[in-house]
Symmetry: D2
Subunit: 450 residues, 4 copies
């Protein structure tokens, strides 16, 4: 809650319905980006492409999909920050290089982008979009043209930050992750076709089999000779984004080698161990708090209930009445039910607490519904620092835990008690010693220079 997802990428090689499969793969990963969607296909060394603003199901019509011919394709869904020029920033980015067409889809954020852009720009490069992704195309274009993979590998070494890339050239489909492995990227197989996707739930939908994760610092490519792989950079420090497990990824995905649902249930279990409370029921803030609440209930023995019902028909926009309806913005999505809550001591579980304003409203609604006590339990540590690796977090000044102590936050949100999961609990729940994860949003330990 309060943190926004940031893109998914997809690629498929050697499938007769490459664009349709990409469409479905993006459909399955729609939760990672709802602002724009795009697909580029390769047919006889030529590219076809289509991008649009909105949900995958709205952007692509049957006739558009049919026009995206070819048996290789890449796709992208994007959550983009506001800005006038949304469509120009939609991905995959496409360009014509000396050696032919290229298309590129990116999940992550390049930290040293401004600096590289300034240099490129000084030497005559011109830029179309305001995103960081475009610089890779320029870097590649400036290298030796005869060995694309070499040019790409050299270019990657200049980049610092988080990037899972999928590229399509005249002859190849390439997939790679940065040496830190910030963002997920998995490899699958469907009959004779290879598939790559940000999350394994995309494989499930198209009936592909999960093979393995693309490794941090690994570059994988597919061409007429099949699949190739190389480690283009030795990992200095593995820094997988822990927030993927806390909030981003779909619970039915396997990310960084483990089930997201299991991670979340575990976060709830450790939360229950760390901060027991006398209560009658445990309820989640749906949908993201559900697995943690189930874990909390199982560990604590307090009964699990759906005390807040979510309206899943809420569209992208709705029209607010000018006369104030109290807590309207939350109520349009979430409705606490008094029949469940009345007279009860309630534990309410959320995945994270960012600004605190939504929690305050939810707790208020739970109290109005008649709860006797409201105990807020957050299935992650206090969020104290912004992300620079592809997650759209508020500035530090808007992170309530960066400014106030626990007691003050508890009072602000109006809870009878508030506890967060500890860093220790977080990593234990992930079966980790903490060294293979980036948890900078919780502990301010950024794995790269910022």
């Amino acid at each position: 809650m309060g943190v926004k997802e940031e893109c998914a990428v997809f690629g498929i090689w050697n499938h007769p319905e490459a664009s349709q499969m990409t469409y479905l793969g993006l459909y399955a990963m729609q939760h990672r980006g709802q602002e724009s969607a795009g697909i580029v296909t390769m047919e006889d060394k030529k590219h076809h492409h289509y991008k649009g603003l909105g949900l995958v199901g709205d952007v692509f019509s049957e006739s558009v999909l049919a026009s995206l011919k070819g048996n290789a394709a890449i796709g992208h869904v994007r959550y983009s920050t506001t800005g006038q020029n949304l469509l120009a920033n939609a991905q995959p980015l496409t360009a014509e290089l000396y050696k032919g067409p290229i298309a590129l889809a990116h999940n992550g954020n390049i930290v040293n982008y401004e600096e590289i852009k300034r240099e490129l720009s000084f030497s005559g490069a011109i830029f179309q979009a305001t995103s960081d992704t475009e610089i890779l195309l320029h870097l590649i274009s400036k290298k030796n043209h005869n060995h694309f993979i070499e040019a790409l590998k050299e270019s990657l070494l200049v980049l610092d930050g988080a990037f899972s890339f999928v590229l399509l050239t005249q002859k190849k489909l390439v997939a790679l992750r940065d040496p830190h492995g910030f963002r997920p990227l998995s490899l699958g197989k469907k009959d004779d076709a290879y598939v790559v996707a940000s999350e394994s739930c995309a494989f499930d939908l198209i009936g592909a089999e999960f093979v393995r994760d693309i490794l941090p610092g690994e570059i994988v490519w597919f061409d007429e000779d099949g699949m190739h792989s190389e480690i283009y950079a030795t990992k200095n420090h593995l820094s997988q984004c822990v927030f993927e497990h806390v909030y981003f990824a779909r619970p039915d995905s396997k990310v960084f080698g483990r089930s997201v649902y299991e991670s979340r249930k575990n976060l709830g279990k450790f939360l229950a161990k760390e901060s027991r409370v006398e209560a009658d029921i445990v309820i989640p803030v749906p949908d993201s708090g559900v697995p943690a609440a189930i874990g909390f209930a199982q560990e604590s023995g307090v009964p699990f209930e759906f005390g807040i019902i979510r309206n899943h028909y809420v569209g992208r926009t709705f029209i607010q009445p000018s006369q104030s309806v109290r807590d309207f913005g939350v109520k349009i999505k979430l409705n606490p039910q008094s029949e469940v809550l009345k007279g009860k001591r309630v534990v309410v579980i959320d995945d994270s607490l960012v600004r605190g304003t939504t929690s305050k409203k939810i707790i208020n609604l739970i109290r109005q519904a008649g709860a006797k006590e409201v105990h807020m339990r957050i299935a992650s540590p206090p969020t104290i620092s912004p992300c620079y690796y592809g997650v759209d977090t508020p500035q530090k000044s808007q992170l309530i835990a960066a400014k106030y102590d626990l007691k003050t936050i508890e009072e602000f949100i109006g809870a009878d008690s508030l506890t967060y999961l500890t860093m220790d609990g977080l990593f234990k729940a992930m079966h980790s010693d903490g060294k293979d994860f980036c948890a900078a949003c919780f502990n301010e330990k950024y794995p790269t220079k910022i």
Copy 2:
């Protein structure tokens, strides 16, 4: 699953933002109808109206809402069967009578509609739409014009079947239920305004207070003198639709005087009592099976898990690949997770079982995900007969339980075991002796001539 919702009505009297409140009320009841939405307002004895195909949030723009002036309004969302002339059937219906404009919104189905229409038509009435609702306008129009409420009451006595109506005239807003009380209709209050709605969740969103249900056979109207009420027909037999509690209504609504969530949990509890099974986990078919699964888990002690994840970004349409992806239609919405299911003995809970085809696919997916055993438990009795009271059920020939015995169905869907709730369990779960509910879809006892 397999049964479609059928309309919601809303009305508000004496509120400065009547159209906006109606918009929100319909928004909250979107689950009852997604094909069309409409609002009619009353300003100075004149009506403004707007209808369109699609979701409430798509049909109404800010400027359209602003043009719907006046402090009384009625609204409607519709699930309509397919047909060319969708917009003509959208509601509220509007017409110009001798005494002025009238608008009408209907939830239910008039059983003797064909016969009445034939008579009206023979005497010169002309019809615009193919729905049953239009006949009421004609009946009223043929009565004495000086007493609208009298004309309405007389007209209602001709009708047989299920109807919760909301009407708007030049001076009044009227709300009423048929004498059997098939469909719900509740009365609320928001400051000085009166509100009526099919479900109480609409009150929650706009911050109105639930007052009581409109009674079966009761007609309530609002005019410049305030609220009035009369019983226009003595109830022959109370026949509230039990399926509202089993499947239709939102779990956070109060319907027929009781919490839907509690009913569903109870159905799950009685189901557990009736058909215990050795198992490792209980999982719901989301979203409709969730409360029953929680009840089942609480009663049985078997742990509750979200073994199937629902993709809530699935739009109204998606494009299927021509090459078959097995069980695609189910997978686009539901994804069973192997991490939860692998090696487990699974109880899967659904609200009802209509055709059996979806259950078959779900069970197949659960098995593919590695479940050792799959026990299907249905939180209602076998559906054996179609509904004639406003629910879009398949014909009898397509109801699997109307044709096959339990064993055959069990084999067809591929479950290790299948049990339904008994009729006795159904009514007990509802704290009822069965006399106040219509359960014709389960027991073929139709409360009216068909």
Copy 3:
């Protein structure tokens, strides 16, 4: 200029592509109505229909046309006055009567409509739209059901005013004109198919042959036995709308038995005879003034020039700058060229002069372009009275000639001289003694009670 067109009707019987032919017929008559378009077809006693707001080419897609199956069809384009409920007023109107579906398209205006509607309404009829057309459906529906043509003929006798109707029932296509023959309606033939249309230009486009006009007071119908015709009312007084020739109809149409282009050229010739002036060039206000200007030039010997160029890309709307551009509203459409006008004594020809405001702006622009003298010549008499027979004219108070004398108007519009055609010249140009035309807008002699 300043007067708006009012609808066209079309019908075709016994053609395998009835909806496509109707689409093209409406396309050709688009100048008679741009607000909405609709088509109803008949297939096996069932109707298919589609209506929409906008131009014919925008309302109908290929798939919509393909869905309008059957070998009989009627269609309508409408210019409607503003109003909230535009789509409800779009035609053909459709309804279900006791004997089956009916569809109706109307060009004209029923003068005694309010009175008939009040009676129908009092006896229980309910109305959908605010147009006058709907009453015919009610009148028919109340008659004996076994003889549709008889019921229709009886109903027509109640109506007063202007009406060219095209109807489609379960088995028949009917076309008829009122006894005064206010509005045109012609009969054509294309191979084995019969066609009716408001203007003969519709026949030209689909390659049909003009046969004859439907007669005033004649009803023509087509069924499985072929074509039938009857005179249902003896004409009291033939009153063909002279404005059809002055402005409405396309110049390439034959209307009331004569070429519109020839009429307009003749109007220009008689205008030249009546009001000669020393001048260097004659220019039309395009497009409607062109034929009259050619006639004027031929008669007077003054050279014809296109001194004002019309921008044909002007759409339905454009955005005006907030800072005033002088005479902007006229300039967006019409651009006088100084190369042609500079230093010249200019005669400018327009078809009619209604409010005078547009003429004032045009003359101003012509002077700015350098004309030495500007002589306005109007190819019709002063417009002094509104039309009640289907033409959207301003109220009398806005007709400049109803309030001011010639000299005052001349000064208002800023012309060096202004003359109108005389009534005598008008009728002579039409080769008429004036008895067979309605010219009430020019002479206030209304052929019916108002």
Copy 4:
């Protein structure tokens, strides 16, 4: 006919409603391009931009125009050849250079574009669109960054071909023409604002005053110090496109210092002098043949008539019936009237004759309408060679005059006689010795290497 227009550019400096004025300027020049429209404005060194497919009036809404803030703007309308990626090729092109944003609008065609692109591409430039225009941005970007005008001038010297450019930088608006002066570009003034436009009709609409043409090889720029001008290239050979006067430009524009209407009338007069014929009437193929037909009629004394009526409501698309309607494609736009043509010896005037197929259909329709003789007169010489300077002409193999002699063409189109204007007549009508015009489409003398 058969030749398509190719773009218009517009720019305005120092006007409080720069985007609105640009909108109107493009509106007036819509005839030069209907595929896409775009506007870029400059506000405080930042750019706002918006582009879309379709007509100016459809692309820009009031809110979009309002968002395009700033008091300098450039705009473009485009006729683009078909292709998947229409929007990417829409102009103005925009990019971010080292020194800030730049926008560019182009009318013309760069002949040596492929060669320059290959070089740029080899040195690392990446391309977004498939148009020729983008190379200028790259060329500029590679130059010294401190003197934009110098960098631009150097870049222009590399280009060969036809180009009227309008550019917008962070601080300047620039307008320039190639040294041959192929395409028009004029300078105007509106109060304190400077305006540039492809045609002077744009000035008329916004109330700006025509000042002079931008000279061939001249670069003009506007900044906070006002207007500046330089000749950046000495003209080798003035080669103004004669086809602008024959067909492209609006008749009410002044192009290359002379009235287009007067040129066309003169073409008609010289045509009459060169190829007299006994005839009863002269008719134009509307709209483009009208001025020449007036000139022909004045010179020959044969009466001018509108024998073919054009339907101005024809939209971008219409749906053709599957059953053939003879000559349908022409008839949807043009309807010859038998009342005018019957029994007549007809001279029909068209501006040019490219493929011959349309003329064939028109002549056929004129004969069907009853003409006794049909004499085709073309107000320009035979079109024998394609244009490489920004006009979309068919390939040589499709130019009927490139392959067949006059007699054969006459027979093909079915005329009783056919004559073209001579080259001598063409230039005389333009008051030219032929040295200042490019007439390569008529005489194959290309002013540049191809």
